[in-house]
């Protein structure tokens, strides 16, 4: 849940990158890290296995600057994508303000995408979220690879919530900031606690 400090005029939000294993979640936030000036970012924390698969989470704190006088700080997390880390994914989703679902566009990854998306929906509902209200953005990653699913098919199969979606090639940085900007806007617009109705 986002945190607004009205005295110091600060907003803190938590965004989680979710999706199947090896889909490019960590690559997304690594690219954000690389492109961010050092005074806008903290250390990127990665809790990895020995072969560099995400074990618990990646974490990147970002200071984005001001919006209407509020200093805005986003905390980006990734979940471990491998199937057997379900318990860790549930923990990381606690308090989430917005989700980027990173789907792998390759044909042979569609089952993994569906399974991961179903897991996400189940975990969100278990934690009391309304799937129609929580900000979610889809990212169709790895568009540069051969043997990929057409975006219309990805939309039909995976975007039944009809949320914004972006094509990406995260390893080259394509689509990474477009996706992050979109989820950031949705999250900021969803912050409760205004002074007026």
């Amino acid at each position: 849940m986002s945190f607004v400090n009205y005295h110091t005029k600060e907003i803190n939000c938590k965004i989680v990158y979710y999706g199947p294993g090896l889909g490019g979640k960590t690559t997304n936030i690594q690219f954000v890290y690389q492109k961010t000036a050092s005074n806008n970012k903290g250390k990127m924390i990665t809790l990895n296995t020995e072969n560099e698969r995400t074990l618990f989470f990646d974490f990147l704190p970002l200071d984005l600057g001001n919006i209407r006088g509020y200093k805005t700080r986003f905390h980006l997390y990734t979940v471990p994508g491998q199937v057997f880390y379900e318990a860790s994914r549930k923990l990381i989703l606690r308090g989430v303000d917005g989700i980027v679902f990173v789907a792998d566009s390759q044909v042979d990854k569609m089952d993994a995408n569906r399974e991961s998306l179903e897991g996400l929906k189940k975990n969100l509902v278990e934690q009391g979220h309304d799937l129609n209200k929580i900000p979610i953005v889809m990212q169709w990653n790895k568009r540069d690879l051969p043997n990929i699913v057409a975006t219309q098919d990805l939309e039909r199969e995976l975007n039944q919530l009809d949320v914004p979606s972006f094509e990406a090639c995260a390893i080259k940085g394509e689509g990474v900031f477009e996706t992050l900007k979109s989820i950031s806007k949705l999250v900021l617009l969803n912050i409760k606690g205004g002074l007026e109705d």
Binding site: V4, Y6, V32, G42, G65, H75, L91, R94, F177
Partner: protein, 161 residues
């Protein structure tokens, strides 16, 4: 709405608890920092995220030998040697779970430090429950009614597209 950050900060400074351990943070259940005696904003955030993850993972592991209704309010989490380490305690502020994490180095008497942290936790809960009742103001609706794409572009002007 009660400003928890200000109240917790006031409590720490009035009682000089900020000097108790080399690094002390108070965080929400989701890792957001509420108070810290650390100057570096990013270090605070990282400690918050890791402490929250650490506690939640420990709860989940403990739940394998406890029934599902166990609450972990009485639990404490230590990771230390005889002089260095960290100590995490849960606390409840206005029915929301928070954590205090003390990180210490070359501490002569970690057991005494941990007792002080437990006392601090109890005092903080009492202090906030007394202050919160008369400071409540309702904030309804959403913080922003609309945000333009230009404003979002401005936020991300440090890099990217």
């Amino acid at each position: 709405m009660v400003n928890v950050n200000s109240l917790v900060k006031q409590f720490f400074l009035e009682n000089e608890y900020n000097k108790l351990a080399s690094k002390i943070v108070v965080i929400r259940n989701d890792g957001i920092n509420v108070y810290s005696n650390i100057a570096d904003e990013f270090e605070k955030s990282s400690i918050g995220a890791l402490t929250s993850g650490l506690w939640q993972a420990a709860e989940s592991i403990s739940a394998f030998t406890k029934n599902s209704s166990t609450d972990f309010e009485e639990f404490r989490l230590s990771f230390d040697t005889s002089g260095d380490g960290l100590y995490v305690l849960p606390l409840s502020i206005m029915e929301t779970k928070y954590f205090i994490c003390a990180i210490f180095a070359e501490e002569d008497n970690p057991a005494r430090l941990k007792r002080y942290i437990r006392l601090l936790r109890d005092n903080l809960e009492t202090y906030l429950s007394e202050l919160s009742a008369d400071q409540d103001k309702n904030r309804n609706g959403y913080l922003f009614k609309e945000i333009s794409d230009d404003e979002i572009d401005q936020l991300f002007s440090f890099g990217g597209v």
